[in-house]
């Protein structure tokens, strides 16, 4: 891994210091080792992809990053400090938001309400003042709505603002989920297979949104993705996992040239 503090991407963005560092993470479920001694970092402003075949431990890694799993060994560093074991909502409060591989939206609620939920960590007023709906609570809701409306505009989902998300096609639900994560104003955005199950056109749209989020809000993004083409197009650096181990790390071109990666993806002749 490079030790320089900053680097510049081919398209001219400057990538800063590490936001999150994973140091020698090992995660076990009983006797099963899901992640084995993995280290890598995610830097300010970068789009970092985690790829690997099925069962490689990618989603487990994301769950470690957002505090849902606690690794048996190793340390997670966030903004230059070691992160003590925390609850996922506390980590969300620190500015880490995520989306899920299997969409986890409130199906019966509208797009607008779902995205409003994403603002929850920023709401300071209590239940009582919300019931009374006076002063601060009202102002806070208006601010939240404004932010949410900007996200709706950004993701071009005005037409489904009032529709229950359960009735929406899959590709749009994925977009709403991204919207909810964005509503939290995250510093680090974790996307678990944002393009799974999409057709080419939807993938192109989603890629464009991910790049635009990074560009417009300067959000650091870590994403898991299967589609190699997409990863090569949008990621700055890629971590490759196989059977819980890290087998590659570097720019897309470096990773593509890595023999271990080729073996993992294309299979290796054991004869």
């Amino acid at each position: 891994m490079s030790t320089v503090e900053t680097y510049t991407t081919p398209d001219g963005r400057t990538i800063g210091a590490p936001v999150m560092e994973m140091k020698n993470i090992t995660l076990r479920f009983g006797g099963v080792v899901a992640i084995k001694d993995i280290s890598f970092d995610i830097r300010e402003g970068e789009i970092r992809a985690i790829i690997g075949p099925n069962g490689a431990g990618k989603s487990s890694m994301l769950n470690v990053m957002n505090g849902f799993y606690h690794p048996q060994e190793g340390e997670v560093w966030f903004r230059g400090k070691i992160r003590p074991p925390m609850r996922p909502y506390q980590i969300a409060g620190q500015g880490v938001a995520r989306t899920f591989q299997n969409i986890a939206l409130f199906k019966g609620m509208s797009t607008l309400d779902n995205i409003m939920c994403g603002r929850l960590t920023h709401m300071k007023t209590g239940m009582l003042s919300h019931i009374l709906w006076k002063g601060k609570a009202e102002r806070e809701e208006v601010e939240a709505r404004e932010k949410v409306e900007k996200i709706i505009d950004f993701l071009e989902i005005q037409a489904i603002r009032k529709k229950p998300v359960g009735s929406l096609p899959y590709g749009l639900q994925k977009r709403v989920e991204l919207g909810r994560a964005l509503a939290a104003d995250p510093e680090l955005l974790l996307l678990d297979e944002p393009m799974a199950g999409m057709n080419v056109e939807e993938k192109e749209d989603m890629s464009r949104f991910i790049l635009d989020v990074n560009d417009e809000f300067g959000t650091t993004i870590a994403l898991i993705e299967h589609d190699m083409g997409v990863v090569m197009d949008i990621a700055d650096r890629v971590v490759v996992m196989d059977y819980g181990k890290k087998i590659g790390d570097g720019t897309p071109a470096e990773v593509l040239a890595n023999q271990d990666v080729i073996d993992a993806y294309l299979g290796v002749d054991h004869g």
Binding site: D153, E156, Q158, D212, D215, E216
Partner: protein, 657 residues
């Protein structure tokens, strides 16, 4: 100029009108746009400030009088202001269809040698960059939506707000020049150039003067008493003359408010929120709306459905008469009022048409039932006939003389005559100046006396003086037995069925007529759902035997009605097929305004036409399709060709086409 009518010299150009509006209607809303979920509005005084700042910024970029400024985007106030700002500077705005693929756009931008392009967002900027080599004249691109454009090279690329900001900062430097140009402009200067959709061949640039536009606006506003309290929803393509007339010319003339939808998909919801008083839509829109209403009524509860049909029957009986102010019995009036309370009012409110005072439809024939439906609800829906070259208006229906099968009497200031071969000619203050850089076409279309050939065949009804249009003059042909062939006449009858979206009839110089049919996916899809018919795609549904059967019934019913027309009884459809793909503008089969391009279709689907005439039962076909991003793919299918029963016709008369 052959026209005696003149405009007041203080109101004879667009910039002068804006100056008047900014004082006369200073605090009235001029433009609205829904953004971030809220309707934002600008008064006429604010609009003038926006436009002048932009115009000063344009001066700073070196925009010269006569420069062509391409406008590429959906209906947004910013683009209307950009057109006004270009007019301030003396340049000519050229609105372009924003969904055109790069190639089409390259042709237009190169043909008019556009020096500036005002575009919406990254998608359009990318498109321009892609065709940069083909449009060497283009110097500056200005974009409205900044998203994703931060990293682009900004030497010739500018943000809309930055241009305005520069204009404000350098006001002292450029204001005298701007004033000079506004004062120097005359009413005969070009105010806009619009490209025709090009049913035949390449699009042509139609040059319009301030006089053309404003005289037309004046006449049409007076005809329908449009004033500053009216409002309109701008949702039709900006590159189409109608939008320029409604959202720029008439709005500026009368001072009414133009509302822009949040996005193309939210148009229906926005329509409901705005409730315009003045509304134009093509027949296709009204058909789609009616189909939706009917589908939802089928899904409604028993009580509601019965109530709906009961009162709609009554509305059909007395609604149109009430609208025309004809005598209706007191009991019927009362029943209509109850119906209004229970059905018509809520329905109109849902559709967003409650406040419509003047509604127009044009472009295609509208089904009599569809037309009656809206009129019986109390919407003053009328028909007009027009074309780009005439600033829209050729004929229109006055209040109280509205019928489904005519297009009305000549609009104020318009003279109409019918040539010996049936072709309609007109001459009006709105008649275009010329086709840009195309003197031959200009001469072909417009004679030295100012008469313009419409290319449509029609006749005046002797009893009422209303014009009736039969078909495109060049599409009217002869059957091999000498009978008249008017494909549109038959196609329109077919398209009045809600499950038929589009159709193309063949038969010129042949012994019998045949047809291609496109089913309406939403209507037929709903029917399939109701009847437990599973389908995965348009193609699959189109090939379903039950669908074929029901279309066959429609074709045979149409044959019966065609047989009743003495002149056109030979145009009955002997064989037909349902196409495996929807006809699409991206594939060049339709124009951007969704008109059928017969030549293209005839060439592309030659195999199918041959199949229809050689009697085969099945034909295999493979067709190239273009996706929205310009990539190409292909779909193939084996289509079933069916025979339809025809009504035997007695001895044919030889009618000159």
């Amino acid at each position: 100029m052959t026209n005696a009518a003149v405009l007041d010299t203080s109101l004879d150009t667009f910039p002068k009108l804006l100056v008047r509006n900014s004082t006369k209607f200073a605090n009235r809303p001029a433009y609205r746009e829904k953004e971030y979920g809220i309707w934002q509005s600008w008064t006429w005084a604010e609009v003038r400030k926006q436009v002048e700042a932009l115009a000063l910024g344009f001066l700073d970029l070196g925009m010269e009088p006569g420069d062509h400024v391409a406008i590429v985007g959906r209906n947004r106030p910013h683009f209307y202001w950009a057109m006004m700002a270009a007019q301030y500077v003396g340049a000519v705005p050229v609105p372009v269809y924003q969904d055109a693929v790069a190639e089409e756009m390259a042709y237009v931008l190169d043909h008019c040698n556009a020096r500036f392009a005002i575009v919406e967002d990254q998608e359009q900027v990318d498109k321009i960059l892609e065709i940069e080599d083909k449009i060497p004249g283009l110097k500056h691109v200005v974009y409205v939506d900044k998203r994703g454009l931060r990293k682009y090279d900004h030497t010739t690329l500018h943000a809309y707000t930055t241009v305005q900001e520069t204009g404000r900062v350098k006001r002292d430097e450029h204001q005298p020049e701007l004033d000079r140009r506004v004062n120097a402009a005359t009413t005969d200067d070009t105010c806009v150039m619009l490209y025709t959709s090009g049913t035949t061949g390449r699009p042509k640039g139609v040059v319009m003067s301030h006089y053309n536009m404003l005289m037309t606006a004046k006449n049409s506003c007076e005809f329908d008493n449009l004033n500053e309290t009216d409002s309109v929803l701008a949702y039709l393509p900006m590159a189409w003359i109608g939008d320029f007339i409604f959202s720029m010319a008439q709005s500026n003339w009368a001072g009414f408010c133009v509302a822009c939808p949040e996005s193309a998909e939210t148009m229906q919801a926005d329509l409901r929120e705005i409730g315009p008083t003045y509304f134009f839509a093509p027949p296709r829109f009204f058909e789609g709306l009616l189909t939706n209403v009917m589908i939802r009524m089928e899904d409604a509860g028993n009580f509601k459905r019965k109530m709906f049909y009961k009162y709609m029957d009554h509305a059909k009986k007395v609604g149109p008469d009430l609208l025309d102010g004809k005598p209706v019995s007191a009991a019927d009036k009362l029943k209509y009022q109850i119906g209004k309370l229970l059905v018509y009012g809520p329905l109109l409110n849902t559709l967003g048409l409650s406040r419509v005072r003047v509604g127009y439809t044009a472009g295609e024939a509208i089904g009599p039932e569809i037309f009656e439906f809206y009129r019986s609800l109390g919407i003053n829906l009328k028909q007009l006939y027009g074309q780009t070259e005439a600033c829209v208006y050729i004929t229109q229906q006055p209040d109280g003389e509205v019928r489904a099968d005519t297009v009305g009497i000549p609009s104020p200031g318009v003279e109409v005559r019918i040539a010996d071969n049936g072709e309609v000619f007109y001459r009006s203050p709105g008649t275009f100046q010329e086709y840009y850089n195309n003197p031959e076409s200009t001469a072909d279309t417009k004679d030295p006396e100012g008469w313009v050939a419409t290319g449509d065949a029609g006749f005046f009804e002797p009893s009422t003086g209303h014009l009736r249009i039969i078909d495109r003059a060049k599409d009217v042909g002869k059957m091999s037995d000498g009978g008249m062939f008017a494909p549109k006449f038959v196609e329109n009858k077919l398209k009045f069925y809600p499950d038929i979206l589009e159709t193309v009839v063949f038969g010129n110089e042949r012994d019998k007529c045949t047809a291609f049919i496109n089913i309406d996916l939403s209507a037929v899809g709903n029917w399939a759902e109701r009847n437990n018919i599973a389908y995965a795609s348009y193609q699959e549904l189109a090939g379903h035997p039950k669908v074929l059967e029901s279309i066959q019934n429609h074709v045979e019913a149409v044959n019966k009605s065609v047989a009743e027309d003495e002149m056109l009884s030979g145009c009955q459809i002997h064989r037909f097929l349902i196409l495996h793909k929807e006809l699409d503008a991206d594939d060049g089969e339709l124009t951007r305004t969704r008109k059928v391009r017969r030549k293209v279709i005839e060439e592309k689907f030659k195999v199918l036409i041959d199949g229809l005439y050689d009697g085969s039962k099945e034909v295999f076909v493979e067709t190239e399709v273009t996706y929205e991003d310009g990539r190409k793919g292909s779909i193939s299918a084996t289509l079933e060709l069916r025979d339809a029963a025809v009504v035997p016709v007695k001895a044919k008369k030889d009618v000159a086409a």
